[in-house]
């Protein structure tokens, strides 16, 4: 291992390393971050939810959006899978249906970054979702 020889060296090293802990730091601080929950129950994976999740994570990284992306179980909307719930800080969560890779990317660039609502919003009683 190369030695750390100065404060600047340490800073550089820290910046490289910080991304590895981002997911943990985010979990400790969810209230202030965008939370994205991808439904990934049996039908979710079958309908490509895993790729959707990957796409959203990638897009967030690319656009430098700090978001906590996790998966949830069945949301009860099998017909509209993959479904994705997005909760921005201080706002009500919104559930989007039929989110494929492309729509996942748009979710980030349009809704999360610019508050632009995409098609396919599923009206729901939010109390019921997750928080289990």
């Amino acid at each position: 291992m190369e030695k750390i020889k100065s404060l600047a060296d340490l800073k550089k090293r820290r910046e490289e390393l910080q991304s590895k802990l981002e997911l943990r730091e985010g979990g400790d601080n969810v209230e202030n971050l965008v939370q994205v929950k991808v439904a990934m129950a049996t039908c979710g994976i079958a309908s490509g939810a895993k790729q959707t999740m990957e796409a959203i994570i990638e897009e967030c990284k690319k656009q430098n959006v700090k978001a906590v992306v996790s998966q949830t179980g069945c949301m009860g909307y099998c017909y509209a899978e993959p479904t994705v719930e997005v909760k921005k800080p201080g706002m009500d969560p919104i559930v989007f249906g039929h989110v494929d890779v492309k729509k996942g990317q748009e979710l980030v660039s349009k809704y999360i970054m610019n508050n632009e609502i995409l098609e396919g919003v599923i009206p729901v009683n939010y109390e019921k979702i997750d928080n289990k």
């Binding site: 030695k3 100065s6 340490l10 997911l23 979990g27 400790d28 991808v38 990934m40 990957e54």
Partner: protein, 597 residues
């Protein structure tokens, strides 16, 4: 490249390791390979989460799911359900003792809500055996900036202004201690970390060393730079193998990165750390005894002055601080003294780690801001008294401390308030007792400990404590007199005033504080030969109610010493002279005729 979506944090503290957490880690890792998820999920063994009683703890991020009492065979369900399908495993979630509801997000657990983590900031969060994780959390940044600034006096001044006081017991201002040592010119000085942690039931320091060893290394280097020492010594008890291992791994990694050794951060500052093992004698935690023990002499205290800052290890100026004291240093430097001094009370700044134990629902390691009340600690963090019983007292300060009663429940906890209330902060033991605890027995428990641990060098402690202990024993056996109570008090004061070291000077505190706060209970033992809490076995009296007794003979047949007389179908009677208070008869009587008086 791995693109982790989940981190599985698994407690690798001493408690959870004892209950199989290494096997759990192995199982998780195997399952991830089997399910082809090694690039999606990372498994990290961390330090203690503080909730050891409910261990092993598994925490899943980013959703903050807190699983308790996880067994190796639960791993498959966690992976299949939680990781693959996104469904939390309900049965492993923490159950709120108040309403029996499952709580999934640790932030909503009463145990964590009121806590504030400075010294424990990285425990249960990073992998203590990976220096990179420490660096990612601002590790070694404080050392780097202190060396860059290159002004020891300014750093000492910052520590002074922060108001940090020693966490090892006495609460001496840390900045001032450093200043005193810095002033004494010498060709060699030493910075020493006291990791002896001898209080019964205490494990704050162990947990910090196991969960965040680099914070101690960094702080010792900072201290070394400030006082002018190039060598650091950690005195750690040999009974802490995991802490020793983690500390050694951390020291090696720091050396590899050039954070220990010569020319640290490219400056002219050299510093390295050596470990020294203690045999686990309580008195060796006293700083002069500790120093003698490290010098290879007997671990006996010597009179102060000279203080270690003048004449310490190898007769050179030395600075001794406690593990938790050090753990605060890097954060204070990174966040500023203003930040630190805004936490706590007027004369006690920052937080304190306590090992919360006894008759409460949540026991474990907690860190709370100074100034929190006992009520908040016991009822909110601790979840209240077990089994709905009544609160009686809380013991703080271990063998040097005392008991606080109900009237102190709303007193803000800090160094000075605890002393004013007849106890002390100590290193952070906190034992909560309910109505079934006998206060004379509590005092005796601590005195037994002191007698065992006294080094025997001075007579007030060696002989005096033994006498105290004998009198207490006499009282719990029902042979005490009112004069004995006077004797206890007088002798206690003599020992306090004349003992050589802190051990003897504080050892009578448990006696004095229980006498002061629970006088009636002592008197009951002496005059009525009764233990109001019903704990002193010798004072229990089993009696048969002749009204209720059916003469079934069950008790008499089962009494191991034949203490029960009576003929069939006639009321029986217990011969108190013979009875050994085993309680068998009461258990056997189907008619509830036997009770304890």
């Amino acid at each position: 490249m791995a693109n982790y979506k989940y981190h599985i944090l698994l407690c690798g503290g001493t408690g959870c390791t004892a209950s199989d957490s290494p096997k759990i880690k192995e199982n998780f890792e195997q399952l991830l390979v089997e399910k082809n998820l090694t690039n999606d999920v990372q498994v990290i063994a961390t330090g203690c989460f503080g909730f050891c009683e409910k261990g092993p703890i598994v925490k899943i991020l980013p959703d903050n799911t807190f699983y308790t009492q996880v067994k190796p065979e639960d791993c498959r369900e966690i992976i299949d359900e939680h990781i693959i399908k996104g469904r939390k495993v309900q049965r492993l979630l923490y159950e709120n003792p108040e309403d029996q509801k499952h709580i999934s997000d640790s932030k909503h657990m009463g145990f964590y809500k009121k806590q504030m983590r400075i010294a424990l900031r990285n425990c249960g969060f990073i992998d203590p055996e990976n220096i990179d994780e420490y660096i990612a959390r601002d590790g070694y940044k404080a050392l780097a900036s202190v060396l860059e600034q290159h002004d020891p006096a300014a750093t000492i001044d910052l520590i002074k202004k922060s108001g940090l006081r020693g966490r090892g017991g006495a609460g001496f201002p840390t900045g001032l201690k450093w200043e005193l040592c810095a002033k004494n010119a010498a060709d060699q000085k030493y910075i020493i970390c006291n990791a002896d942690e001898g209080d019964p039931g205490a494990f704050m320091d162990r947990s910090i060393l196991e969960g965040d060893p680099h914070s101690i290394i960094e702080a010792m280097a900072i201290g070394g730079f400030c006082i002018g020492a190039t060598i650091g010594l950690v005195y750690i008890r040999a009974e802490y193998p995991l802490a020793i291992h983690r500390l050694q791994v951390a020291i090696n990694q720091a050396r590899e990165y050039g954070l220990l050794g010569k020319n640290i951060f490219g400056t002219d500052f050299d510093f390295d750390i050596i470990l020294r093992y203690g045999a686990g004698a309580f008195v060796c935690g006293e700083e002069t005894a500790l120093i003698h023990s490290m010098e290879g002499l007997r671990g006996e205290p010597t009179f102060k002055p000279p203080f270690p800052a003048v004449e310490g290890y190898m007769k050179k100026p030395s600075n001794v601080n406690n593990v938790e004291t050090y753990a605060n240093i890097p954060v204070i430097i990174n966040k500023g003294w203003e930040w630190f001094s805004s936490i706590g009370t007027e004369k006690s700044k920052g937080t304190k780690v306590f090992a919360l134990a006894g008759q409460i629902n949540n026991v474990g390691l907690i860190e709370v801001p100074m100034g929190i009340t006992l009520r908040e600690v016991i009822y909110e963090i601790g979840g209240g008294i077990k089994g709905g019983k009544k609160f009686k007292a809380v013991q703080t300060g271990g063998p040097s401390g005392g008991c606080l009663t109900e009237k102190f429940l709303d007193t803000p906890i800090d160094y000075d308030n605890l002393v004013a209330a007849g106890s002390m902060m100590g290193s952070g033991g906190m034992i909560v007792m309910d109505e079934t605890s006998c206060m004379v027995s509590v005092a005796k428990f601590y005195l037994d400990f002191t007698v065992e641990e006294s080094c025997g060098k001075c007579s007030p402690c060696r002989i005096g404590n033994k006498r105290l202990c004998e009198i207490l024993d006499k009282i719990t056996k029902g042979h005490g007199t009112m004069e004995d109570l006077d004797k206890l008090r007088n002798l206690a004061h003599v020992i306090k005033d004349t003992a050589l070291c802190g051990l003897g000077q504080t050892s009578p505190n448990p006696v004095l504080s229980t006498i002061d706060n629970f006088w009636d209970e002592y008197v009951a033992h002496v005059t009525e030969k009764k233990c109001p809490a019903g704990q002193c076995k010798a004072l229990k009296k089993y009696v048969i109610d002749p009204e209720k007794c059916k003469g079934c003979t069950a008790c008499a047949r089962n009494c191991p010493v034949g203490a029960i007389n009576g003929t069939v179908k006639m009321p029986h009677e217990i011969n108190q002279e013979l009875c050994i208070k085993c309680g068998t008869c009461m258990e056997k009587c189907k008619f509830n005729a036997i009770s304890i008086k």
